[in-house]
């Protein structure tokens, strides 16, 4: 294929994503420096107000007062995204290892079962937990029937239910990349370690974990990024009262009508995620060189 025709064939993908995704990012960046139009949209003049709003509130006499509301929402979002990542890693690593150790046929079935939920509508998957966790839900009904509790427990609309929803949504994102790195492990390395009387823990720490690390890092990025910007779990399982960044951004474009602030928040989480990806690509080659 000639060079010209190569670019001609790449052109549709590059143009469509460039025009409808990359350019909109820059427009959002520009919007984040503008003044909110109370009817939605933006107007002149250019200002840093949207970013100042992260930390300060403007008082009636136009002086800035420190306000922790938004920074707390951002902190809670990061805390929940990190917790989700850690829980997914703790559950995903043993599951991936278990699958790697199975026969070819069983491996295929198990991988299919782990992959399938990834493709099922997140809206529906999240809604299922409302059926289970709400006051008249299955969990409370069962606990009552067993005589463990007399009154229904408030299982829904707290950080725990949001975390559960996030882990439920993103767990497959962790198992699959870890699996694909572990699958390539040379089993002779593990046999050699056991032949040299290494304990299970030592084999995990010295042989399996170093080899699984790139997959775990990839999985951690794939879980952390969407969890940080998630909308459905906090909205449906957090009841919309406990805001996270995702729902805060969405609000700026609907009820709050503050587009510059919403754009600034989006730019901020995109920056955080880019930072995570850059940090990962910096640390990854060093590790390969060691191995």
């Amino acid at each position: 294929m000639r060079r010209q025709s190569t670019w001609l064939m790449l052109a549709p993908a590059v143009l469509v994503i460039g025009v409808f995704m990359l350019i909109p990012m820059f427009i959002a960046l520009a919007y984040s420096f503008m003044t909110a139009d109370p009817y939605g949209g933006v107007q002149a003049p250019f200002t840093f107000d949207a970013y100042i709003q992260f930390l300060y509130q403007r008082d009636f006499d136009d002086s800035l007062i420190f306000a922790s509301d938004y920074i707390l929402i951002i902190a809670r979002s990061i805390y929940l995204a990190v917790s989700t990542t850690v829980i997914c890693l703790a559950l995903g690593l043993p599951v991936a290892w278990y699958i790697v150790c199975q026969s070819e046929e069983r491996r295929r079935v198990l991988l299919f079962l782990i992959t399938l939920p990834f493709w099922i509508n997140t809206l529906i998957r999240t809604y299922c937990w409302i059926l289970i966790l709400r006051d008249e839900g299955l969990a409370n009904k069962l606990l009552c029937a067993l005589g463990i509790i007399a009154d229904p427990l408030p299982l829904l609309y707290n950080d725990g239910s949001i975390l559960l929803g996030l882990v439920y949504t993103f767990l497959p994102f962790m198992v699959l990349p870890i699996y694909s790195t572990l699958e390539r492990i040379d089993s002779r390395l593990i046999e050699a370690a056991y032949d040299l009387y290494a304990s299970r823990v030592a084999v995990f720490r010295r042989v399996i974990w170093p080899l699984a690390k790139p997959g775990a890092l990839a999985g951690a990025t794939l879980v952390f990024a969407p969890a940080l910007g998630s909308f459905l779990a906090p909205d449906l399982l957090g009841g919309g009262k406990k805001l996270l960044i995702g729902s805060l951004i969405q609000m700026q474009f609907t009820s709050s009508r503050n587009w510059p602030f919403g754009a600034a928040l989006s730019i901020a989480i995109t920056a955080v995620i880019l930072l995570v990806i850059i940090l990962r690509s910096w640390t990854a080659p060093k590790r390969e060189a060691q191995a």
Partner: protein
């Protein structure tokens, strides 16, 4: 009763994996069971009934939203698959001296950028241009995020295949077009099918981007269902959710089977 030592067997991991699978699937099973419950009180079982599915079928708002979803998904799937096919061929068989990393990064963007950010940047873009075309806006937005899902299986298949058969065709003086029609395309067909199905499911299931971009006349099915969910747990929501669930499972299972055939071939 001790078995000989086998490093492939770690005590407890099998139980944990089984528990995770239950964790992943039990909520879906519970939803389906509730959808077939005759009682209006969702949690009290009063016998098997398909009553709620009939109620869904009669609801003209749901039918309208389903039509919108289907039209958008079909257009986005065709557009995204064609764009992805050309892109994958160029990346795997083309002559790229520079820009490969940049192009790969751009194509992966819809996978990495959080959905909410994609949703609001798309909204901002259309509003800055003054584009208020309802369905057309949604078709464009869906095409963009479907591209990587269609591209990945096609690119993987092209890598697997290697270039030897195409080399052979070229040695026999086949023209580039004939080579594509008679050699590459037939070998690639299952992967194109798998990619198209994935794109279709992703488009049909999309909620967040559709919600931000859609306007009054262009509501899609997930956006409508979300509105129903906000009003509370009802048997109708369970029934329509079960239908959406069944559609995803059927399509994805067939795409994954196509993918397996690819490996066997």
């Amino acid at each position: 009763m001790s078995r000989p030592f086998d490093w492939r067997h770690t005590p407890g991991f099998g139980t944990l994996t089984a528990a995770i699978l239950v964790f992943l699937y039990a909520p879906l099973v519970i939803l389906v069971v509730y959808a077939f419950n005759a009682s209006r009180m969702v949690t009290i079982w009063q016998g098997f009934s398909t009553h709620w599915f009939a109620a869904i079928a009669r609801n003209s708002d749901i039918r309208g939203a389903a039509e919108n979803s289907l039209i958008i998904a079909i257009v986005a799937t065709i557009a995204a698959t064609l764009i992805a096919l050309a892109g994958a061929l160029a990346l795997e068989r083309g002559n790229l001296t520079f820009g490969r990393g940049l192009v790969t990064g751009m194509v992966a963007m819809p996978l990495v950028v959080p959905e909410i950010v994609v949703a609001i940047t798309t909204l901002v873009f259309f509003s800055a241009l003054g584009m208020h075309h309802g369905l057309l806006n949604l078709m464009i937005a869906h095409t963009v995020f479907c591209i990587p899902f269609a591209l990945l299986p096609i690119q993987a298949r092209l890598k697997d295949m290697g270039g030897t058969l195409e080399e052979a065709g070229r040695d026999l003086y086949a023209s580039e077009w004939k080579l594509f029609r008679r050699v590459t395309l037939p070998l690639l067909a299952p992967a194109i099918g798998a990619g198209a199905i994935m794109a279709f499911v992703i488009s049909l299931d999309d909620f967040l981007i559709s919600m931000m971009v859609s306007s009054a006349g262009s509501t899609t099915l997930p956006v409508y269902v979300y509105g129903m969910m906000r009003l509370g747990v009802t048997p109708e929501v369970n029934a329509i959710s079960t239908i959406l669930l069944a559609i995803s499972v059927v399509f994805v299972a067939s795409a994954l089977l196509l993918g397996r055939k690819r490996r066997a071939a």
